[in-house]
Amino acid sequence: MRVEEILTGKEGEKLFLLGNEAAVRGALESGVSVVSTYPGTPSSEIGDVFYKIAQKAGVYFEFSSNEKVALEVSIAAAAAGLRSFAFMKHVGLNVAADSFMSAVYTGVKGGMIVLSADDPSMYSSQNEQDNRIMARLAGIPMLEPSNPQEVKDLMKYGFDLSEQFQIPILMRTTTRISHMRGVVNLGPVVRGKEKGFFSKNVSQYVVVPAYVVKLRKELIEKLGKIKEIADNSPLNKIIDQGGKTLGIITSGGAFNYVMDVVSENDLKVNILKLTFSHPFPEKLVLDFINSVDKILVVEEVEPVMEKEVLAIIGKHNIKKKVFGKLDDTLPRIYEYNPDIISVGMAKITDKILIKKEKFTTELPLPLRPPVLCPGCPHRASYYALKKAIKGLKLKEEEIIYSSDIGCYALALQPPYKMADYCISMGSSLGIGCGFAKATNQKVISFIGDSTFFHAGMPGLVNAVHNKAKILLVVMDNRITGMTGGQTNPGVPLDGMGNPAPEVSIEGIVRGIGVKLVKTVDPFNLKKTEEVFKEALQFEGVVVVITKQPCARLTDTKNRKKGINIKYSINQEKCIKCLICVKNFTCPAIFTEKDGSVHINPLLCDGCGVCVQVCPKKAIEVKK
């Protein structure tokens, strides 16, 4: 399949779509007009598809500077009567939370969907938060798809519901839904309105106390009505497998595992699948509870529905056993899978056979941790900084490396070990300021270009104003790298691939009042080391911008130009000092069992930085 088919695929056709791609198609079939995001895995591919097709689809799409801005862009579009779609990873919703909580009060005119992609097991995230709790905190109706077809269909359902009740809708996916592929039946694409019109109404859109007290009351009334819809919605469905002894209440990805285990073991149970799961359909669940002997709640991450079920049982004074996370039938941590469900269910039914002998191996398997790519400019920046630190005889234990969210945090790996603290987007600066005040240690903060625009600027303002002595390294690789390579305000392209003003990081830094600012190409190791030496000796806030495009960008450019440079090691010149292996550590460079050093031509990116690292000039362009 070509990406364009997500737009051009005709009604009645089938495509093998990723959950994220299905979300795009669902938005297009719903006549969406405005779409906004800040990239975050597992939601990133939604943006990658819009980047390629938005223009042709007549949709406005942007990579906003952060999730809060993205959400606000979509809120305004919906207030102007257009259908809008904002999506982000689960922790992105934390950034957007301030506006998210009040947008539910102000409501919408055009339909609006907010998609939060949660990440159970934290495959690419800093925590395992369950945003179904966010839905309850905000009081926003929520839909939970179980597969790509549902993702697509729920987009349409969600937009209609949103318009009917003039309230945004939260769609909660998990990694396994966003990154699941499945057969999706297409419906017709509907072109959305190009422009809307905002009709003023201060009592609805200005959340001063006098108005918001009324809005709060209206919200609760609205949720009551929506709860009735959820209670009667065909989205919430009982699947009768022919047994009343055990009733299973489940949703989202967990539903799939339950179904696989139930059919594999031919279990006679009753299953309640909740897709429209907030407001919690109390009446439907009560009827279900009354229809079975005991209840098992299967849900990923927190015991959210389990507590709702227990509340219903308590409220109606029912004496029935509820199994779930709270009694340790199922684990509270990490993503589920069919095996975990089998083990849990075997505790409450003797109908499940736990498998069987597994093959194992005693052999040690090589570790393959995530690593900076061959040709990555960050490696060069770190190498030069490390040399500068050594040159100035600074002690490693006297330096705190305050890192940030992005590829560069991978420098936590040896041999660099240059990430000591990292908790959230932009935290390198705030945390750096704190350490600068709380210790006498030297503080070096690292942040990427995209993260700098996202949440780095307020921290730098703080450092300057509060005189926190830090060295900030902005690693400007001209892209939002870790999420797969999206544009950001620092590059001259917008979210639809059109030319856009390039916002200058150096200009911002100077404007904030930093006295010493240096921009350097990290691929020039010697010059970069000199700049770092100067910066390390400067008294006060100092910023070094290391500017060189991400290796993936350079690859694409070189491929188009037909440039294909590879390096190899001249074995006659190589003295096996291993500086390139042990200190520089590019994944393309490896040692053979005999101790000789080689470069894997499949992995070599042709950046040539290792040439500067070698003391014997043994690394040469491969002929």
């Binding site: 549902e150 396994r176 539903f255 899978n337 393959r368 690593v371 040896p414 797969g484 042990k582 550590t585």
Partner: protein
């Protein structure tokens, strides 16, 4: 608007009814084309009218980390394969095959690329890459239906080392019981690979196919 529960694939959507399911586990290293290979199989299965789901694990690394995908064909819901339940394992690297042992049983067909990829952690001395001959012995000792294939050699002969994944795909579909026709796989390859690479990729694919068929 919502006549049917969206979670329950309708009979009509699922096409040809299968008695059994068929489960494929693929494991490789970022950059080897594991996900593309899986997508090609999945689309071909869809073309045949089968229900198919697939999971992709992207990890954090763009390159160099383990990449796992799983495909389940037939009357299934979740895209994750239960332990010991894979019908076919396609490993793009020898030690990676060992990482997936828990998904195998005696009935599993296993295709393994015999070319090792040694990560930087081994050069740094913080992890170990076992002797290749030991890895092969370990695989042979446990797996009845094992094919070791030098996919790099095949791809080189076909014209480009980048076609390793298609050589392995060819080998995979030549195994007994593979549920999707070769012609549909080829059609799916043409729809998923860059046009300028089709010729080389098809050659590598055919060569991989022949390795196993003979």
């Amino acid at each position: 608007m919502w006549g049917l529960c969206p979670g329950m694939p309708k009979e009509s959507d699922r096409g040809e009814k299968m008695k059994n399911t068929y489960k494929i586990h693929l494991i490789g290293i970022g950059g080897q084309g594991t996900i593309k290979t899986s997508t090609i199989i999945g689309e071909a299965a869809m073309k045949k009218g089968l229900n198919v789901v697939m999971s992709e694990v992207h990890g954090m690394a763009q390159r160099g980390g383990t990449v796992i995908t799983e495909l389940k064909i037939g009357e299934v819901y979740s895209p994750l394969i239960e332990e010991t339940d894979a019908d076919l394992l396609l490993a793009f690297e020898p030690t990676e095959a060992l990482r997936s042992l828990n998904k195998l049983s005696e009935k599993t067909f296993v295709i393994v690329n015999s070319i090792p990829i040694v990560p930087f952690t081994v050069s740094l001395g913080i992890s170990e890459y076992p002797e290749l001959s030991t890895v092969f012995e370990e695989l042979k000792g446990k797996i009845k239906n094992l094919v070791l294939i030098d996919a790099q050699k095949v791809a080189k002969e076909a014209g480009n080392i980048i076609s390793e994944n298609m050589a392995l795909l060819g080998a995979a579909i030549a195994t007994p019981n593979f549920p999707v026709d070769k012609e549909l796989i080829i059609q799916s390859m043409k729809e998923n690979l860059p046009p300028e690479t089709i010729k080389t990729n098809l050659k590598a694919f055919e060569m991989g196919f022949t390795e196993v068929k003979n």
